[in-house]
Symmetry: C2
Subunit: 419 residues, 2 copies
């Protein structure tokens, strides 16, 4: 990689580090004013945003990107409005900085408070989704951090316009524009630089698939990944089968290309004969291909035989792997082995089964009688999300503002010394 | 490194992973029973422990270890009793597993609860301090984790006896003894294996210095380090000077070899002429060497001139670097530049200065009118500690039971699907 890129990034990161110090001490009123200005600027500059986006879109289409990809890239007036509304929602959220998490007094009179503080400088690496540029920037600086944004190259022109609006809004509120900077070159070369700079960067939040994961291997900077989801729905013997159908159709079909979509369906053998036929009808109408275990294939002539690899594949597509299991025990063992620990659901009216499922499934989000598709910052009520952590540490599952903070202990005494 | 070690460790880790599943679901009563049995076993087997420790001690002395090192290694009847009491204290602590951190109901009726769960398998790498073997094991399994212990080789025989007692106590309570396993070979070779096994290990907690830090460079398993502390005391213009003296003597002299001891002292120029003379007298009586800035050396004939490197050195010894500063601003800038972000204190009666110091100093623990030496799990009221995190993420500062857990979201619905 060029020394030019390295120098460029270093300059950018130094600016962000400096800005982070100012942001950490800024008032909620200032940060909210920047958000207010940005919401207005998005609406006022919709034409410019859409023109840049048309160029990006045409380029990506010429490069043969998939329909799902192009759909995520594309903006129209309604989508710009939706982004502006999300900025207003972030403005309305309480400021997490300085929240007292806990506090107590020790026998020796020391008063200890655990206080929420920003993390510092956070890099967000993401796909060609222009809305993420705005949401990641806004959540990041509302939580008092400086944010370094590295979006997919197919959205470059759109992102440049958006980044300009963010910078202007920060400056308009008297905050340093370096608090949200956009890296517009270098692709994975940039990642190789970012992941080494523990002096200038406190956290990397990557949103993406296997290639991004490999690019971040051995990162010296801590990584809070948003990687794959192999999500399960288990339809128990005691399930309301009508409810089971609705949940399965929703979990598979409402948006098959996202991480919280169902990839593997497990059905209790006692209900499989009644459940699978009607479900398959609904799924195939929606274009879903079913890959089944032996028993599933016996019940469903339209199913193709699943191979071992199917149980460990994140299709992100209209494909579903289906397995008939003999009991809850087998379902739990299957999920422990094949699940990715993101989102798994049981459909049951049996309290004992529900309690055992929620206790034993070791996933970020565990559902009883609801679709896995709710694993999402908006749906959790966080207003927006920076990503969904597939990590066990620091943050797990949907990440809102609090997940972009850390804490420190502030201790007041009157001369205490230790024995 | 030998394939033998690699296979040995893999077997150990697989056992721990299996045990972690059982531990995660075990009742508090079972875990507490294991702790009760261990406290008794420590007292009942004190002779055997002390005999093994005498061998370790003699070996370490022959290898020319320092007095401070030998002191940390050495056990006697009183210290064994103290360890047994700490086990009883951990028994008395509330179980963090299944604690509901937060819970709310969404407009669509979904009930979301955020529930504390164990992290999984945790490796603790530490010095030749036998008490850590017991404390890390007990905190780890009380929080529902399996713990892999890798202690310093100078304490090997003591640790083997202690590990045996832990295993017997777990088994006695019906829990898998593989939940607390001791790695008794391989030294840094073992670390090289551990840091790659993301499949079998969820976290590494290293306690130690630069060499250990380098050995863990590029770890694929997340690391929650307990590394160096360059701690400051700033004596403000508005300080109670008598209190300032007591705090400085305590922060430097009460235990100079630990991470929360003061290394740099900053004194406001207005009080320096009155403050430094009497302090220097107290410090030199206690054998402290003072390395001062130019102004300090003018005030203290006994001081030697500090060089640049002194301000960035963790002495862990009876040496103190002293600088006279012109105002709070300069003190804050100095701490931002030279501090390690672990523990820093201000001595002042000025509310504005105290508030500014606690807000702007970005350290895990920030003190007003108290010694930095309180940065410690026991002193915080956590009962015991696994270490003091010098990290910004997941946990910061003293780590107790909660810091050894993560969380998951459990969501109950009645058929909700996403639009």
């Amino acid at each position: 990689m060029g020394i030019g890129l390295e120098n460029e990034l270093e300059k950018l990161l130094r600016g962000a580090r400096q800005a982070a110090r100012t942001l950490a001490r800024s008032r909620s009123a200032e940060k909210n004013r920047a958000l207010r200005l940005l919401a207005d600027a998005l609406r006022d500059n919709a034409d410019e945003i859409l023109a840049a986006n048309r160029n990006d879109y045409e380029g990506a289409a010429m490069r043969g990107r998939s329909d799902a990809f192009l759909d995520r890239l594309k903006l129209d007036l309604a989508r710009v409005e939706k982004i502006a509304v999300s900025v207003e929602q972030i403005e309305a959220l309480p400021d997490p900085v300085s929240e007292v998490i806990a506090g107590w007094r020790r026998p020796n009179g020391l008063e200890i408070t655990q206080v929420r503080v920003p993390i510092g400088v956070i890099a967000v690496i993401y796909e060609s989704r222009p809305n993420v540029t705005i949401e990641a920037a806004c959540l990041g600086f509302k939580a008092g951090n400086a944010v370094v944004l590295r979006g997919g190259s197919d959205a470059l022109q759109t992102n440049r316009v958006l980044a300009g609006l963010v910078a202007r809004s920060l400056a308009g509120a008297g905050l340093p524009p370096q608090a949200a900077v956009f890296v517009d070159q270098g692709d994975h070369d940039a990642i190789q630089v970012l992941k080494r700079r523990t002096d200038l960067l406190d956290l990397i939040v990557p949103r993406g698939g296997g290639e991004l994961k490999r690019a971040l291997d051995g990162s010296a900077v801590p990584v809070l990944p948003h990687f794959e989801g192999i999500c399960h729905v288990y339809v128990d013997r005691a399930a309301d089968l009508q409810m089971g159908q609705e949940i399965c159709v929703n979990a598979k079909c409402s948006r098959p290309g996202v991480c919280n979509a169902m990839e593997n369906l497990l059905v209790h053998s006692e209900v499989a004969p009644r459940f699978l036929g009607p479900l398959a009808k609904q799924l195939t109408t929606r274009g879903v291909e079913i890959r089944g275990c032996e028993r599933t294939c016996r019940l469903l002539p339209e199913a193709v035989a699943a191979v071992d690899q199917d149980w460990d594949t994140e299709y992100l597509d209209l494909i579903l792997a289906v397995k008939v299991v003999d009991d809850l025990e087998e379902a739990l063992a299957f999920i422990a082995r094949h699940g990715s620990g993101l989102a798994d659901a049981i459909v049951t009216s049996d309290l004992v089964a529900a309690r055992r499922f929620t206790e034993e499934v070791d996933s970020a989000t565990v559902y009883v009688n609801a679709s896995t598709r709710f694993t999402d910052g908006f749906e959790f009520g966080f207003g927006a999300e920076t990503g969904i952590s597939t990590n066990r540490l620091h943050a797990r599952g949907p990440m809102g503002l609090r997940e972009l903070t850390t804490y420190k202990y502030v201790i007041f005494g009157d001369g205490q010394v230790r024995e």
